[in-house]
């Protein structure tokens, strides 16, 4: 065997030298600038015409706390409805049956194509179109008795959410390698069982980050239900300032609570992501 050839001249050995740390002058400068701006804003707010005593006084008052509970209850229930609908509609959309496909596409088009607040108002005022609702022969009731603010909010928020969730779920299901579906079929599984046991669980990993995001959006979307008299946080805060004219102070109270809820939900979503990544070594960042 020939010995290795001698190395060429002119290329020094740098292995003893370390790379110096860059001073990043611009980063320091911009950070200082931002701190200054924030300090100026904080000072402006402190000196502004806000009666902070009203903020602290109403922050934990019973009506506000009830509002938060109602907000969260509605967010959870509407999201649950939205997820169930989303899965069903996504499966319909991916079905070989053209009728199911069209119905699914139509549902998505209709409920993504109209503003949420419009949908809430329509549900709440359903009795203008259908004074009585029911199943002929079995049961009937006045629409206004059935369509309470709670139900109208739940239907409006949930069905609207379903349209968005179905797209997320569909993308998630399509992201699962088709080989998985074929392997399931090869051991005799039908389409629905393969979806349920093999495809959907894998789709969940892709779907959790956007769904977590949607849930956080839902918590805030519940504030739209204030116009149909659902007593959530914003509605109750408004009632207080209608009585005492402290508009900004009460809006700050409501805003702080929304911020708090979202700040708690964000790390919870990360925990959920981790659980669904079980079985794979890579975690989506």
């Amino acid at each position: 065997m020939k010995p290795a050839p001698a190395l060429a001249e002119g290329f020094p050995d740098l292995s003893g030298m370390r790379v110096a740390r860059e001073p990043h002058w611009f980063r320091w400068f911009s950070a200082a600038l931002i701190v200054l701006v924030l300090a100026a804003i904080a000072r402006a707010f402190a000196n502004g015409q806000i009666e902070w005593s009203y903020v602290s006084r109403f922050l934990t008052v019973k009506v506000i706390l009830e509002g938060i509970v109602n907000t969260m209850v509605m967010a959870v229930l509407a999201m649950a409805l939205g997820i169930v609908l989303g899965i069903v509609v996504a499966i319909m959309r991916l079905s070989p049956n053209p009728v199911l496909k069209t119905v699914a596409a139509g549902y998505t088009w209709l409920f993504r194509g109209t503003p949420l607040i419009l949908q809430l108002l329509l549900w709440f005022n359903l009795a203008l179109v259908f004074p009585t609702i029911g199943i002929p022969g079995l049961w009937s009731a006045r629409a206004v008795d059935v369509m309470t603010p709670f139900l109208a909010a739940l239907l409006g928020l949930g069905i609207n959410q379903g349209a968005y969730t179905s797209e997320v779920m569909r993308a998630g299901m399509l992201s699962v390698d088709i080989g998985q579906y074929e392997a399931a079929q090869a051991i005799g599984m039908g389409r629905l069982r393969a979806l349920r046991r093999i495809v959907l669980p894998q789709a969940m990993r892709v779907v959790i980050p956007p769904l977590g995001n949607e849930f956080i959006g839902m918590v805030k979307a519940t504030s739209l239900a204030s116009v149909i008299q659902y007593p959530e946080l914003l509605h109750n805060a408004e009632n207080i300032y209608y009585a005492n004219s402290r508009v900004i102070e009460l809006l700050i109270v409501a805003g702080l609570w929304y911020l708090l809820v979202v700040s708690i939900l964000t790390p919870l979503q990360m925990l959920l992501e981790r659980r669904f990544a079980r079985g794979t070594l890579r975690l989506a960042r």
Binding site: E182, Q185, G188, R191, P201
Partner: protein
């Protein structure tokens, strides 16, 4: 006279304009180990997928264990079977995929027990015991609780073979089972397949591993452009091919 386990008669399959199978006819006998060789696009994988109905044929018929697959003859016309019926027919075959396709969210053991418990509705303790035995048989008893991501390619493919066997099929289909493996892992999978062949399982193997074919195959079938060009004993087809195209293919491959 015994009947063939698989009888393929004048089967054609098109993908749009492209003719993947051109009126192919073939018999596969019980206990036979058949290797299908050929260039990609020759139709060998398509043929396999038609047998377990992952692909639907456009004309002709395939009988498995005497039963016509995918359709029912009635009043002189063919009617497609329901999804349920097709699922039932698929239970007679087991398939091993080139890319393993193990379920990543289930352990090795769970991958194997999934079919018998969910599809066949069998009792979980029985199934578990059998699954552990299968894992032992493919040399992976220690990996029962590992997830696919924790296994090497060769180990995954062996689990995939066990998964297919758990359904107690009468025919095993292998679609290029070692093509996606690093060279040093190929041997362990081929060893499992050899043991399976020895145990009497009917196997159809699409492969490029001519050494394996020579050693284990009862019959080698060379396909090109959607048709069978030559078939016969491994020593004949591989050692002394008659057709020009077969010779050309073999010299390119070796």
């Amino acid at each position: 006279m015994t009947k063939p386990l698989v009888a393929i008669r004048s089967v054609s399959k098109n993908f749009g304009e492209f003719q993947a199978l051109k009126s192919v006819s073939l018999d596969v006998w019980p206990g036979e180990v058949m290797c299908l060789i050929g260039a990609s696009g020759s139709g060998k994988t398509t043929l396999l997928r038609c047998i377990n109905q992952l692909a639907t044929i456009d004309s002709g018929g395939i009988w498995l264990d005497g039963e016509l697959l995918g359709v029912r003859e009635q009043g002189g016309r063919l009617h497609r079977l329901s999804e349920r019926e097709i699922g039932r027919q698929r239970l007679k075959t087991g398939m091993v995929f080139q890319r393993f396709n193990l379920f990543p969210h289930k352990t090795a053991l769970e991958n194997i027990t999934e079919g018998p418990t969910q599809v066949q509705g069998r009792k979980s303790d029985e199934v578990r015991a059998e699954a552990l035995e299968l894992l032992r048989r493919v040399g992976l008893a220690a990996k029962a609780d590992s997830y696919p991501a924790q296994l090497s390619g060769g180990q995954q493919q062996r689990v995939a073979i066990a998964r297919a066997l758990a359904m107690k099929p009468m025919l095993m289909l292998f679609d290029e089972p070692t093509s996606a493996l690093d060279p040093e892992l190929v041997g362990e999978v081929l060893a499992v397949m050899k043991e399976l062949a020895k145990s009497g399982m009917t196997m159809m193997v699409v492969t490029h591993e001519l050494g394996f074919a020579r050693e284990v195959a009862d019959r080698v079938v060379y396909m090109d452009q959607g048709a069978i060009v030559e078939q016969g004993r491994a020593s004949d087809v591989l050692g002394a091919p008659r057709e020009e195209r077969t010779k050309a293919f073999l010299s390119a491959v070796i």
